[in-house]
Amino acid sequence: MASAPPSLSTARPPTAASPHGDRRRGALPPLPSCGARPPSRGGLRALRSVPLRRCAVRAALSTADRSAAPVESGGGKELLLEVRDLTAVIAETGQEILKGVDLTIYEGEVHAIMGKNGSGKSTFAKVLVGHPDYEVTGGSMMFKGENLLEMEPEDRSLAGLFMSFQSPIEIPGVSNADFLNMAYNARRRKLNQPELSPIEFWAYVYPKLDLLNMKADFLNRNVNEGFSGGERKRNEILQLAVLGAELAILDEIDSGLDVDALRDVAKAVNGLLTPKNSVLMITHYLRLLEFIEPRYIHVMENGKIVKTGDISIAKTLEKEGFKGVSEM
């Protein structure tokens, strides 16, 4: 990555020659400030002053170049996630699962990853949030300019990275209310805001339950204890609604949900989408993508993203299976 602002003419950045060329939306390279800045702890605070920086960069663009930029990217959008050539193995056995994943997500975008069972989709998501079962062996992951590899899982979460697990586990003995309260207060502490007492927190959480069509007694139950699969997924989305996130990774949020539940969950997720935050969905089926419309769909195969496109990929997948997609 160049450390000096690259020429914003038609010269494409070196990585554009990669097989993932389709994914790059036109010639506009990633904003140099985000890519080139070395990872630092002060990154988060520095990012608070994003608008100023972005304006400065935009000013640097000549009007001629701006007209050359494609309509889609809209210029000046902040880069949320940048994954380059990520390789990872299972910590215990050393078996390689991710074999060079590249992905870029800007704010306000909805991405989806589809792929065969065992292709590494969930592993990718878990590696992003720092699951101890996996070890990164190469490549880089930058989130809002900060190097995720240097951050503990709780710091990644506090930075705005949320993951809804495929099979959320039970925590008997800890109530949902307490759990959410702890997590929410951790965020408030990070933002130097005063923590909420249990009663204030209850007032904050209560309306969110309505959003997901959940009953009030749910908060008194222990985390995921005795929950059906669908209830656990709803719980994950409730946590997303309560805690907020800049990039929400939804790992197979649709599995185990009936049509009504899926509609509620999709409505909640759509309601949380703003131009400032993004969603990365991992799914097998077209159905979810009809509720939450993705801008980009990536197909993952054998630990790598092999294809990127739009909704037409999903439709082909539905009709012809993965073979049809690889011939696209």
């Binding site: 800890v174 759990f179 985390v223």
Partner: protein, 485 residues
């Protein structure tokens, strides 16, 4: 044995009597240790034990009124047993994992006569002071304004010596000294108990408020002095047919690191259809020894529920014996042992079922969070020949949070009947990684996550405490323990 010498004692020529059965003139007539080893005795006398027994006997006043005859009978029976009961060693199965040398190597002396009148009542919350309570200090029952007037008619809570009803004393006399399963410590309490506290609930009577027994150890020595004052509180509970009562036993620690040995006994006789909810909270000083016996006899269709939370004491052992005397009983035992310091927490429980359709559930949880900490569990359930259609379940879960923390568990079911449903399970682990990660993935740092998970591990037992003020107290105690020092 013959080689042992006790220069302090004056030996008189052998007399035919054993050392305790005849009323003694307190002018020191001590009997030679060796001579009491008359051949008919099968076991051998342990001189250490005998010395302790004599010291205890000497510390008590001679029985004056006939009212104390149940107590005297207890003393007699216990001293008889002590003649042939040695101090337990690690070679004895019940003490295989429990090291009692801490007590044996100290200088043990019985507490001096009743605590001084000037003793003040320790602080209690306002809810507590409104409940009927009995304060037992060093084994002596002390009146701190016990508020016993609110109890229903016929209910008696107090010392046996103050009991006005002859029939009550007689009734109690029917039950004492009938226990065959005791060990050395049971007998030591029998010999050394200065008084017998009684809780009596007549037939069909339901006591609304829990009876609160608060035990204190006023006499104590300083840490490092290697002296242990021994107190023997003894309580007898008799609930007649259909009676119901909640009992809360609270063993307080007091300030600072004071050393003492508390050796309490609680005997419960639960009549037909009766119900007792027993809460036992032990929070004694970190260098104290605490050895408690709880013996329960359950008649048909009665319900006994025990919730125990023990967190104090350098050596804390609870011996629990529940004997079923009729069919269709319900027994629920939930215990939580916390070893956050260099301490040993031990539960040896035994449930003997001889009648059909008994139902029992035992849950034992322990948390050891210190490399020198140790937890021991021996849960024995005997389902004998006539205990058909018994439904007995036992589960023990231990959390080891530090390297070299130790837990020894021995769940054991001895089943002779053939139409029963019995299960037992044991799990020993650290906190689950996947649960810790779930907390981290939501932005909660590992330390807070560990605290929450450890607290919630114990919460399963603590939430069963039937009285909310006790529950709150215990929750606060646990929270304090979890704060890293």
């Amino acid at each position: 044995m013959a080689a042992l010498a006790f220069p302090r004692h004056i030996r008189t020529p052998p007399k035919p009597s054993s050392f305790s059965n005849k009323p003694k003139a307190k002018a020191r007539t001590r009997i030679s240790v060796r001579s009491s080893l008359a051949p008919p005795q099968l076991g051998f006398s342990d001189p250490f034990v005998l010395e302790l027994a004599e010291a205890l006997e000497d510390s008590l006043p001679s029985p004056s009124s006939p009212k104390l005859s149940p107590l005297q009978r207890i003393r007699d029976a216990s001293s008889e047993t002590l003649l042939s009961t040695p101090w337990p060693s690690r070679k004895d199965e019940p003490f295989r994992f429990t090291d009692t040398s801490f007590i044996k190597n100290s200088t043990i002396y019985p507490v001096s006569r009743p605590p001084p009148q000037s003793l003040e009542a320790p602080p209690a919350s306002c809810e507590e002071t409104q409940l009927p309570q009995l304060a037992i200090v060093d084994g002596y029952i002390v009146d701190f304004g016990s508020n016993l007037s609110g109890l229903p008619d016929g209910v008696y809570v107090g010392s046996l010596s103050n009991a006005t009803s002859e029939s009550l004393v007689e009734r109690i006399g029917e039950f004492v000294s009938g226990f065959d399963w005791g060990d050395l410590f049971w007998s030591i309490n029998g010999v050394g108990a200065p008084d017998l506290a009684v809780i009596y609930v007549p037939a069909g009577c339901r006591v609304e408020n829990p009876v609160h027994l608060r035990y204190y150890s006023a006499e104590a020595s300083d840490e490092g002095s290697n002296r242990l004052p021994l107190s023997n509180p003894r309580v007898f509970v008799l609930v007649e047919k259909g009676g119901e009562v909640d009992i809360v036993e609270e063993f307080m620690g007091g300030d600072g690191n004071r050393c003492y040995w508390a050796n309490p006994v609680l005997e419960v006789v639960l009549g037909e259809g009766g119900k007792i909810r027993h809460s036992y909270v032990q929070n004694q000083s970190p260098c104290a020894a605490h050895i408690k016996w709880t013996s329960v006899q359950q008649e048909a269709e009665s319900t006994y529920q025990l919730v125990e939370v023990s967190s104090g004491g350098k050596l804390s052992r609870h011996n629990l014996h529940v004997q079923q005397l009729g069919p269709d009983t319900v027994t629920e035992l939930s215990t939580l042992h916390l070893a956050f310091n260099e301490q040993t927490q031990d539960l040896h429980s035994r449930l003997v079922l001889d009648y059909p359709r008994g139902s029992s559930r035992q849950l034992h949880k322990c948390i050891v969070a210190n490399s020198q900490g140790q937890a021991v569990f021996d849960g024995n359930v005997k389902v004998n020949r006539y205990a058909q259609q018994t439904d007995a379940g036992q589960l023990t879960r231990s959390l080891l949070l530090e390297p070299r923390a130790t837990v020894n568990v021995k769940p054991n079911l001895q089943i002779i009947a053939d139409d029963v449903k019995c299960s037992h399970g044991a799990a020993i682990s650290d906190l689950e990684e996947s649960q810790l990660f779930y907390f981290q993935a939501r932005g909660i740092d590992p330390k807070t996550a560990r605290k929450a998970l450890v607290f919630s591990f114990g919460a399963e037992v603590v939430s069963q405490l039937p009285n909310s003020f006790v529950q709150k107290k215990v929750e606060n105690q646990i929270r304090e323990l979890l704060v890293p020092r």
